[in-house]
Subunit: 215 residues, 2 copies
């Protein structure tokens, strides 16, 4: 499959590398046509790894990953262009985090979420929020945790969530994928990130996740 990755940070690189290793063609997009991080990443991974602008990557991908920082996501997606995203699934990993304070805070929460803002801004795109509740090392290697843990999908399209769930299983090895509801459930997983940060401090590791236990 042809996949567009928006964002050249650690999340984009980790997801992109895993997908190239899985035999997919991946284009990493950034604000500039030849972002040094994207160029180095593509050179390292061979001819199935490409780079370009946000718009190039969005046009290239049959499925798009939003790995842009939360604070820059809406601007980056506008550069990617509604036409290039139209009719496609956008897998949204972003968190609306404000890192300026030592205590993290969200720039939107409670009665709205970044997932919803993105869905409203791109009504012809099927936004599926997922993977934002874990560090990128866990995203692509859930089996490295000692037990199976949960990830979540939120979105308005049941079909898109089913496709994304299937891809999360096939590409990354996720077994426990829970559908939380429509895109308003992005609020819940984005707000959880403040608990994730406290857990990370408490266990002194980024490699952590939660398992939902019920009767």
């Amino acid at each position: 499959m042809r996949i567009g990755i928006l964002g050249t940070g650690l999340v984009g690189q980790t997801i992109g590398s895993k997908l190239v290793q899985g035999g997919h063609e991946v284009m990493m997009g950034s604000r500039d046509e030849a972002n040094p991080k994207a160029v180095a990443w593509a050179k390292d991974l061979g001819h199935n790894a490409l780079f370009g602008t946000f718009a190039n990557a969005a046009a290239f991908g049959e499925i798009i990953f939003n790995c842009i920082l939360g604070s820059a996501s809406l601007a980056g997606l506008r550069q990617a262009g509604a036409e290039n995203l139209k009719g496609k699934i956008l897998i949204d990993l972003s968190n609306p985090l404000d890192y300026t304070e030592d205590t993290w805070a969200l720039t939107v929460c409670n009665t709205d979420s970044l997932g919803e803002q993105i869905q409203r801004a791109f009504p012809d795109t099927k936004v599926v929020k997922t993977l934002n509740t874990i560090n990128c090392n866990v995203m692509v290697a859930p089996e490295k945790l000692p037990e199976r843990t949960n990830i979540f999908v939120s979105g308005n399209s049941a079909e898109a969530k089913a496709i994304v769930s299937s891809l999360l299983r096939d590409w990354f090895g996720w077994k426990l994928i829970m559908d939380l509801g429509d895109i308003t459930s992005s609020r819940a997983v984005e707000m959880y990130v403040l608990l994730w940060r406290r857990l990370r401090k408490a266990v002194s590791s980024h490699r952590l996740n939660i398992k939902v236990v019920t009767e």
Copy 2:
């Protein structure tokens, strides 16, 4: 031990009953001196179960549980009285939930929390936020879940958190108790409640909790 329970709802009754069954003297406090729910509860449980006003229960208890609805907690605690709470541990189970909408929302979050508001309003009381991340049936019977799960403690006093953790083990059977930090970490566990609600819908059960899995 003498324990004051503020609030006569399901949470207060469940906690209070478990403590009376454990051999403690428990006074359930409410706005009115003889709240019908508190009177019925006390009659049902025998002479170690007492009832009175918020102020009576706060004066009676060596340790106090805040089981008042989030929206009424600060007003109820003011009725309990700073003098009656002074120097004591207040175990705060409340969540600042606005139930008026079908989609739950918090009345305070992100850069503040109900736990912090209570601590600021009662600076001479040691507030420990805990147990707000689970349904009351799970609070007093964690062993009924098929696996051990986590609860969290937040508070400014390390000594108070250690005491509360010990009581949670002895009284209710909790094994995995994680210290999340000072009272500002109340934000994280209160904001998690929106995820809890989505999980409850997804698994169709109130009897659920999360287990933190790390390497």
